[in-house]
Amino acid sequence: MTTDIQNTQKREVSDKPEQFDKQDAFLFPQDKKTYRHQYREIYEARAKQLKSRVMKMASMKWKDETINGQKAKYVNKLLDVKSMVPSYVIGTVFMDMKYKPNILQEVTGNIYAAPEFKEDSEYDELERTRIHSYSDPATDQVMLEDDSGRLLLDGELLDKVVLMTGVVVGALGMIVDAGVFTIVDVVYPEPAAQIPRSIEETPEQFVMYLSGFRVNPSGKRAPLEILKEFIMGELVDEENLVSLLKRTTNLVILGSSMEVTAKSQKDLSDKDKYRAKNKSNFDAQSLEILDKWISDLLMSIPVSIMAGETDPAEIEYPKMPFHRSLFRLSSGRKNFERLTNPSWLQINGVRILATSGENINDMFKYMIPNIHVEIGSGIDSPVRREVLYDSRLKLLQSNILWQNIAPTAPDTLPCYPFTGTDPFTLNETPHVYAVGCQPKFETTKLKVARKNGEDLSVRIISVPDFEQTGQCVFMNTKTLECTSVRVVGQ
C-alpha cells in the first residue's frame, strides 16, 4: 500500500492499528450535554477513580513511616485528623490564588453586569500579566479537601513538589499548628497499566508533530509553503533527512492552526454596531488556505488535526473535532482525520496521548508568581521573558504522575460538567504524551513504577509552536526518540 508522491520518492506507510478502542475517548458531542449538573460531580468521579490508586501507593510507601518517632496512621476523612498525630490522608488539592479569574468582581465593577470580552489591546499592563498568572506567592494557599472539608497545607515540601488544583494525592504529615497540616511527603496515584508493545517488531518509522501555524490572511504565507515543500521532500538534500522524511508515516497537527486577525473583527462590529456582541473567531480565508495546504499534503501523507486554542472550535475541554464541512477539500479524503483535543492515537502500536496545550498553559499560570512590580519595564522586560519561555516539561511529567491531564478543569479551564466520569483521569498510561503549542521543544523519558514493581516508561514531548519557532518534531516509533528540525527561521 503506497501512495504516489512527487519527486518519485516512495514514502512508507504505517500499519493501521487492528483494534483501537480509544479514538472516541474524548468524544462528547453536543447531544450528550444537558448542563443540568454541577461541577462537583467531576471532582467526585475523579476522587472515586483515583483514591484507591493513591491508597495503594500510600499504604506501600508509608506503612512503616514515622514522624518524630511516632508511627503514621491513615485517616479516612480529612476532618478526623487529630492534632499532633502523624497521619496520612488522601484528598483533592485546591489552590486558593489571588489572581484567578473572578467573575464576581468583574460583574460588580461592570455596568450592566455582563462581563465584556476584551480584545488583547484593551487590557492594561497589569491585566495582561494576570492573564499569564494566577499566583501571588505571599498569599497563595494550598489546601487538601475531600467531601468532609478542607485542610490547609504547609511545609517546605510545598516548594519542591508540583501540586495543582484538582489533583488527587496522598499527603503525609501532622497538624502542629491549629488547622494547618504540615506535610513532609506526598504520593500520587498508582499509574494505570500500559498496553504492552513489542519494540522488536516495530519498524523504525516516524511521526511528525506540528502545532501553532496560526494561519491568518494578513500573515506571511512563505513559512507554510516552505514547510509543505519540506514535508514533501522537495527542499531536502541531506541524506539523513531524506531518509527521515521517507520513513515519516504520519503528520499530527496539535492545534492553533488558524488565527483571527483584529481587522476581521472590527469589520463585523462596525457594520452591526448595536447587534451581535460575541464575535466569531472565524475567518473564511484562513480556513481556505489551511484546507488547501492540508489537501496538498494528503497526496503524500496522512494528516490528523485537532482544534486548539485559536481555532474555530468549542472553548470547553475536551474540544470536539472540527466540523467536517470546514475542510471542504480535505474532509472527503481517507487519510485525513479530525481529532478531539485531547486525543488518543495509535501508530505502529505506540499509544499516543496528545493535547494542543490548553491544559498545560492553564496549569502554568499556577506556577508563575505574578510579579506586577517588575513588569513596569514593559513587554520586553526580562522577567516577562522568563515567564513566557520557562520550561513546561515538569508540568507534562506531572500530568502522568497525577494520572490526570487536565486537573485544573473545571476550576480555571472551562469544561463541561461531566457526571459519573472524569474524562481527564487516565485509565491507561500512554507510551507517549505529546503536548502542542509550547514555547520550546523539549523531550524526556519519564519512569514511573506500579505497585507490583513493574516500571513504565513514558515519552514526554513538548511540541513547539511553529509560528514562534519554525520547528517541527519527529518521533521514532521504535525507540520513541525525538528530534526537532527547524524548517524556517533563524
Binding site: Q30, D31, Y35, Q38, Y39, R40, M60, W62, E65, T66, N68, K77, L79, K82, S83, M84, D96, K100, P101, N102, I103, L104, V107, T108, I111, Y112, A113, A114, F117, P137, A138, T139, Q141, E145, G149, R150, L152, D159, V161, D177, A178, G179, V180, V186, Y188, Y274, R275, N278, S280, N281, F282, A284, P312, E314, I315, R328, P369, S391, P410, L446
Partner: protein, 1110 residues
Amino acid sequence: MSEKRKEHESGAENEVKNEVAEKRSIAKSNDETRAIKRRHTEGQTDRCVGSEIPSHGFKIPVHETFSTKKLHRKLTSKQVDNEPSTFEKELVRMSKLDGKGNAEGEASQEWGRPVLPAIDPAEYDIVFQQLDADETIIDGYSAARFFGVTNEGHSVLCKVVGFRHYFYAPVPKGFGPGDLGEFRRYMEANYQGIVDVKIAKKESIWGFNNNVKLPFFKVVVDNARHIGRVRAGFERGEVQFKGLFQPAGQMTFDNVQYLLRLMIDCHIVGMGWLTAPRGKYELVGAAERESTCQIEIKVSYKDLISHAAEGKWQKTAPLRVMSFDIECSGRKGIFPEPEHDAVIQIANVVSRVGEKVPFVRNVFTVKKCSRIVGSDTFCFDSEREMLMAWRQFVVQVDPDVMIGYNICNFDFPYLLNRAIALGEEKFAYFGRLTRSRQEVKDAVFSSRAYGTRESKTVNIEGRMQLDLFQFIQREYKLRSYSLNAVSSHFLGEQKEDVPHSIITQLQNGTPETRRRLAVYCLKDSYLPLRLMEKLMCLVNYTEMARVTGVPFSFLLSRGQQIKVISQLFRKCLELDIVIPNMKSENVNEEYEGATVISPARGYYDVPIATLDFASLYPSIMMAHNVCYTTLVDRATIDRLQLKENVDYEVSPKGDCFVTAARRLGILPTILKELLSARKKAKKAMKAEKDPFKKQVLNGRQLALKISANSVYGFTGATIGKLPCLAISSSVTAWGRKMIAKTQETVLQKYNIKNGYKYDSLIVYGDTDSVMVRFGYPDMETCFRLGQEAADYVTTKFKAPIKLEFEKVYFPYLLINKKRYAGLWWTQLDHFDKMDTKGIESVRRDNCRLVQNVVTRVLELILEDRDVKSAQEFVRRTIADLLQNRVDLSQLVITKQLSRQDYAAKQPHVELADRMRKRDPGSAPTVGDRVAYVIIKTAGDRNWEKSEDPLYVLENSLPIDTKYYLENQLSKPLIRIFEPILGEHKARDLLTGSHTRTVRVASAKSGGLMRFTRRSNTCRSCKAPIPASQMLCANCRPLSAQFYARDLANLNALQAKFNKLWTQCQRCQGSLHQQVLCTNRDCPIFYMRKKVQKDVLAQASELRNWDAIEW
C-alpha cells in the same frame, strides 16, 4: 532497632536543626524565596515520586514557633473568593491569636468571668460602668437597678435606694405659709403614697417672666406607680383645698419617668462610670440575691458618685458582646414555626470590647456534627438538651450585650416559644435576674423620623440588646436589609445563602452536612459582630448615651425626643426651672420650612463655590437667644416696658424673644455647650493616637452634632412633649432671611461694576447653603473668592452665625431642586469625590440598571468630560436592553411588602399573592422585600406584569423591555441630558437606529404559544426551509460563517457558565459539595441560573449543524 537506623535518625535530627536555623535566617525573605522556587519548574522530578524509598522517620519541629507572621498573613489574606473558606481560615486564625487554643483549636475556650476576689465593703470602692438600668420596687419604695461591669471585668448589680419620685405643681394664689401642713395632711388622706409636700421656688420654662421665681409644690411620692394618680388629681381639678385651686384643674410640671428622674438628679448618664464608695454600700447576702452578677450591692442615691465622661472616665469596661444565630428545621414550603419546627443549631461568638479576636466561638447542635477547626462544637442528642445547655452557656458566659441579626423579632421569640412548645419551663431564664422570666411582648414603635414599626421585645434584664438589623434599618437607607445585602454593602463580601428547605436536608444528613450548616450558622453569628465593629454602633451609641444622658436601651427603643428631653431636664435642674406637662395635641399646624433659591438649571463648566452656614439652626438659636424661656408676648412687653432690639428682638415671623442681657435662654446654653464640646472632641480626636480612643472621640463628636441639630426639631415636633411653633417657625424664618441676605450681599459685591471680570450668579441655594458662580474659569480664583465671600458675608450676621466656604463643584450639573451632581473639590490639586443628590444613582426604588447607567453616565460627563461617550454609552445600553442582553439581576426591582391595605393594586403586592398561590412556603411575607421584574403580558396594567425573576428564568418569559426603557431609564436620562444637550437632542437619545432591533424571548407555555408551531427558517435570509436545513440554497455558501457565529456564541456562554459555577464553588469553599446558595442579592445569582438555560439552548442550536454538509 538497628544501630544503623539509630544513626540515621539522629542524623535526620541534626538536619532538621540546621534547617530550622536556616529557616530563621531566611524568614524575612520568605516570599522571595518561594517566588524564586516556584519559577523553577524545570529539573528533576521529586525524589518522592518513585515508590522504592525506605521509610525515613520524618521530623517536624514542634516547639519551634512557626513563622507566625507568614502564617498570619496566609490565614488572613483577603482573597476575593472570600466565603466561608476564608471564614474557616479566619476561625483558625482566631484560635491562633487568642493563644489559648491547643493545636486543634478546640475545647480550650474559657468563658467564665474572672474570679472575684473577696471584697470588704469597708475597704473597697466598687467602680463600674453602668450599662443597663431599670426600675424596681424595694421594700415598697421605687428604686433603680443599675447593671454594670468593673474595669476588671466583674459584673455588678447596684441597687440604688432612697430616691423618691416627685413632680411640681404651682402654689395657688392665696395659699398661705401656714397652710402647708394642712395641705400635706389633706394630700396624704386623699392619695396613696404621698411622702411629702414641700414648697420650692421655681420658674416655668415657658415664656419670659422677668426672671421671677414662683413658689411650687414639690409633691413627693413613695412609688412611681402612685405618681400618675396624684398628678391627675391636680390636672383634673380633683385636688381642692380651701377653694384655692381652680376647679378646671391646673398644669403640673416635670413629668418624667422615675428612672430618668433619678439619673438626672444624680447626674448619672447612660454608659457612664459610677462609684459606690467604701463604707457606704452594703453587699447583698447570698440568700437575698436576685441576680447572677458577681457583685450585688445596695447603695443610697446620696452616696453614689457619678463620674462625668471625661479623661479617664471615657474608657469602656471590658464588655462582653455575644452574637448568636439560630437555625431551625422547616417543613417544605412553610416558614419555620416554633410550635412545630425544631431549633437545630445555635452558633455563638463572644468578644470583649477592644479585643481583636472573639474569645468564644462555638456551635450547639442537635445530633453529631464534625468538628470545625477554631471553634467548639457541642453536640446533643435532643433539642431539649441543646436548648438547656445553651441557656446554661449564656448564664455562664454572662454577656453584657447580646447582638445578632434580627434577633429581636426572630431568634429570641423563636427560642422562647419553642421552649414553651417543648414544655421546657426553665429555659426562659437567661437574663441576669434569676427570678425574672424572659417573655415576648409586642411593641409598636412610632416616630416621625423612623415611621411606625411593629416589633417584638424580650425582657432580658441586665443585658443590653443590639439588633444589628434594627440598627441598620434605623441608620442607613439601603436597597435591601438582608444580611447578605448588608454584609456585601458594608464588608464587601458576598455570603452564601442556604435556603430553608435545604437546611432540613443538611440536618438529616451526616455529621459532615451538619458541619456545613454549622459553619454557615457560625458565619451568620460572626457577621453581626463584624458589622458592629465596622459601623462602630456600640462606640457611637455609647457616646450618644453619654452625651444625652439616656440609658443605652432607649436609643434603639425610643425616638429622638427623649434625648433632647433628658438634656433639657438636666439643664433645668441646675437653673431651678420646671417644665410643664403639656398634653400633646395633634395640631396639624404647618409652618413654612426652609427656603430654596430656584435653581438656574444647567451644566456648568466653571467652578461653582459652595458657601454653607455651619450648624445653621443651632447658631440662629444662639445668635438670637431663641428659647422657651425668652419667648415673650406683647402683654409682658408692655407690662415690663421692654424696648425692641435692646431688651427683645422680633423674629421675621413676628415672635419676640428677649435678649441675652435680659435672660440667657436655656436652649442656646445647651447648644453652646454641645457645640463647644464638639469642638473639643474634634480637637482631641486630632491629637489622639490610639485608634480605639479616636473612634470614641469621633463617636462623641457625631453624637454632639446630632444632638445639637435635634434641638430645633424637638421644638417643632407637634406631637411632642414641648412643641413650640413660635420657636421653630421663627428659626426657619431667620434661616430664609439669611439665605436671601447672603444672595444679595454676594451679588452686590461680586460684579463687573466693582471691578470683577464677571457678574456672579447664585446658581442654587438650599436651606443652609448657596452655590455661587463667580465666573472665573480657574480653581484658584474660585477658592480665593469663595473664602473671601464667606468671610465677608459672615460679618453681616450676628455671632456665632458663620458662613463657611466648604467646597467647589466643578463641573456641576444642576438638574432641579435637590437634584444635582458634580465633582467635589476641597483642595486645588484633585477632586475628592463625585457628589450626587436626588439622582437615581442613589435612589433605591429603581432597578440596578438605572443606577449603574446613571452612575456611569455621570462619570463620563463629569470625570471624563466626554459627553459624546456618554451618549454613545446610553445608546449601547438601550440597544442591549432591547435585545435582551442585559442580565436579569439588573432589572430586578424590590419593594417592601408592608401591611396589605393598599388602596390601589401594586405590582409587588399582586405578585406576592400570585406566589402564595403557587407555593405558600416560598412566597414573601409582610416585611419582606419583594423582588420582581416586569414582563410582557396581554394586559398593560403594571400590577399584572410583575413576576418573580426565578419564575421568569424558568419559563423564559419575555421581559417588557419597553417598560424599562420608558418607565425606568428614560426619565433620569432625560433629566441628566436635558441641561446639556437641550430638550430635543436629549429625547433623540431614546430613539434612533439603536432602538430598532428588538429581541423578545418567546414564552414556552401559556397563552397563544400553545397553538403555535415554529417553522424552520434560513438563518441568514429568514426564508422558510425544510426542518433539517440551516440555510436556504442561496445562502449556503455562507454556511461556515454562520456556523462560526453560532460557535462563538456558544463559546461565550460556555466560558460564562464555567466562570460562574466555579466562582460559586470558590465562594462556598468546597469543590466536592453541591452549590446550594440562593442568595438573591448576589449579582451572579440570576446569571448563574440563566446561563444554564442559555448554554443549553445554544448547544442545541449548534447541534443542528452537525448533520449538515456544506
